[in-house]
């Protein structure tokens, strides 16, 4: 949970200044918060409760919700084999992101560094996938993964190696999730790299310099100096990456529809399948709430494990 750290908030030191301004300040605070609070309550918080309400019904989205079934939707979700597969797949994407994507981003951030000639060029190129929409990204990669070497670039490269057959990347239940992860990484690693670059630029040069003069080798330097000093940035990046991985939707839906046979099913595609394909709106709402609770639980645990306040702060 958020806790105000001392020194973060400034109250005028003199008692009289404070009291004479109290009312005026309150008014300003109220007015400043008003627009965002109203929009947020109406378009975000109210729909959350809307979803909670419908999640207790067997409701097909047409007409009023009348068939109240209490927690049955939730019971079904938590025992549904396919939902558990979706959760597992989400977790696999989370772990792969943490194990591969973020270290890669950090590594590239360090390589691009502070004064490599041409660093602005590399930075721009690496960030570019983030600028493209998920729709464009999915269409691009669908083409690359095409199993027919006459049409798919990856297989066209593959068959140049003697004795290697083209491989149906998105059609094989063993590789499809990995392919989705590759595309997600392609799109988002630049964003995390940018975070790390900014973090690195805030590490005073003399700290590293001093450590180096003290005889630290580069691994010691990396693990004992750089990474600890980057801890705040890393926490932020991990937090955003985990939430992003849990909520990923459009890319997966366009690329695989969660298939074949649920091999790339994630929670959001599962929700979409029930809500918009099979019209079980009550059930779909319950899935949305379960996703919401999973993200909330992660946030709470994460903030407890990392007690320092980051600039993302919050829950």
């Amino acid at each position: 949970m958020y806790e105000a750290s001392p020194g973060e908030t400034i109250l005028p030191s003199r008692q009289e200044v404070r009291s004479s301004r109290g009312l005026q300040d309150k008014l300003i605070i109220f007015l400043f918060l008003l627009p965002s609070t109203v929009i947020f309550l109406v378009f975000v918080v109210y729909p959350i409760f809307h979803s909670v309400y419908y999640s207790f019904f067997n409701w097909k989205g047409l007409g009023p919700a009348v068939d109240f079934i209490a927690l049955d939707n939730y019971k079904r979700i938590l025992t549904d084999r396919v939902f558990l597969i979706a959760v597992k797949n989400n977790l696999i994407i989370v772990f792969l992101s943490l194990l591969l994507q973020l270290p890669l981003s950090l590594g590239l951030a360090i390589l691009v560094g502070r004064n490599l000639p041409g660093r602005a060029f590399f930075r721009s190129i690496f960030f570019m996938p983030y600028v493209f929409s998920e729709v464009i990204t999915a269409i691009m990669w669908l083409g690359l993964f095409n199993p027919d070497p006459d049409r798919g670039f990856i297989n066209a490269l593959l068959i140049l190696i003697p004795g290697v057959e083209p491989f149906p990347w998105l059609a094989d239940t063993r590789t499809v999730l990995l392919c989705v992860f590759v595309v997600l990484s392609w799109k988002y690693f630049g964003f995390h790299m940018l975070l790390y670059i900014t973090g690195l630029q805030n590490i005073p040069l003399d700290v590293e310099e001093a450590a180096r003069i003290d005889g630290a080798n580069r691994y010691q330097l990396l693990f004992n100096i750089t990474i600890p000093l980057l801890s705040s940035t890393i926490r932020t990046s991990v937090y955003m990456s985990v939430l992003g991985s849990l909520q990923q939707f459009i890319l997966v839906w366009i690329m695989t529809h969660g298939g074949p046979v649920n091999a790339s099913e994630v929670m959001s595609t599962y929700m979409y399948r029930f809500g918009f394909v099979r019209f079980y709106l009550g059930y779909g709402s319950a899935v949305a709430i379960v996703m919401f609770l999973i993200c909330l639980a992660f946030s709470l645990v994460y903030q407890r494990l990392t007690p320092q306040q980051d600039y993302l702060g919050g829950i």
């Binding site: 949970m1 207790f56 109240f68 998105l170 298939g259 046979v261 394909v277 709106l281």
Partner: protein
Amino acid sequence: MTHKIFTLLSIILIAVFALSGCATPATTVPTEEAVVEAEPTQPAPTEPPAEPTAAEAEVEPTVEEQPQVTVTWWHIQVADDQKALWQGMADEYMAAHPNVTVEITVLENEAFKTKITTMMQSGNPPDIFQSWGGGGMNEYAIAGLLKDITADLEKDGWKDTFSPGALGVFSFEGKYYGVPRDMGAVGFWYNKDLFAQAGIEAPPTTWSEFLEDIQTLKAAGITPIALGEGDKWPGAFYWEYLAVRIGGQAAFDAAYSRKGAFTDEPFVEAGVKLQELVALDPFQEGFLGATWPDEQVVMASEKAAMDLMGQWAPGAFKDASVDKQGLGDKLGWFPFPAVEGGAGDPADALGGGNGFVVGKDAEPEAVDFLKYISSVESQIAQAEIGLSVPVVKGAEVGLTDPMLVLVQQGAAAAKYFQLYYDQAMPPAVGGVVNDAVQGVFAGTLTPEECAAMIEESAQMELK
């Protein structure tokens, strides 16, 4: 920390309930929320002075004092010539009826499905919109979102202009909610050159001949079948057609009426036959992840010999080929082979089509306009550009493509016409059929498990 969360949640709860008056489930007090929810089902606000329909239709153009009416029309024909045809008709109609404005929204198929879902759930249907009839339409009808146009159809013999089978798809419990514009049967499209190359003289008529031909094609180094099973519905055709051939009308009727079940022998047997086919590995590499557009390209580039698909296939092959000519004379068509010992008649067909239904708030002008675009002249024009396999009598003359004539005759000759399962049944069951059959294609489900999955969903949905 924990208690903070609780305080937070309870405060939001109070705030939101105060803000919205969110009705708690058990409450019967008509709070604001309850009113909002009730709205969609309120019987369509009684049609404004019910009479004028006929009168207005007669007097038409010059009368200025007629109230201005807007008809919203949603269709999914995004191809240039098809879109232009519809737009042209709307323009003509508006010229003849100055008091009517037709507002067209054109959406691509998938986008249409997403959007119409939200529109319907909010109780706000367009006046005229694309529909495939059957189970999906029935759900809208039950929820009171569609307008009953039975009376209009009875008048002046409008009803009799349609072929009854096609029109029947748009009826539910004796009432009509829309009209068809297109209807055809699914069958095998095949590449005559590739068949000849493998030494196959005539297309197969039975399932065992079919399996033999597949082996012959494979032996000749030709991929026998193109399939986009990533989209699921192309593969579901195989299982559904096998069920039609093995169990015939009786099996489906029994399962649908709940006197029988989808775990009955014919449906399991359909899975077993499908397994036989899959075991021969007749599909192009990566078919499990491929889509229907991929399937088109495989066929159009002559990389596979056969494709089980509906009446839209020749047009799609043209689209997908380099020179936009499709397979030309090489393209042939044969009906789904008979299964030895099956109860179904070999002439029975699986298929379906497209049409338009009328939203609950539609003005009489909307129905009049629907009549206009369903005229025989309109149907001929649609057939000429390959948009529709016509369902209005006398419009067959517009059908120039000999292949489409075959499909049209196939559908017309069928003693029993089985609508695609995802249209014959509620969308939820259709979705499960598609998912379960994909499991058989992937080898992750046995025929029994596949049938059981479908039956489980049917128990929930069919009464």
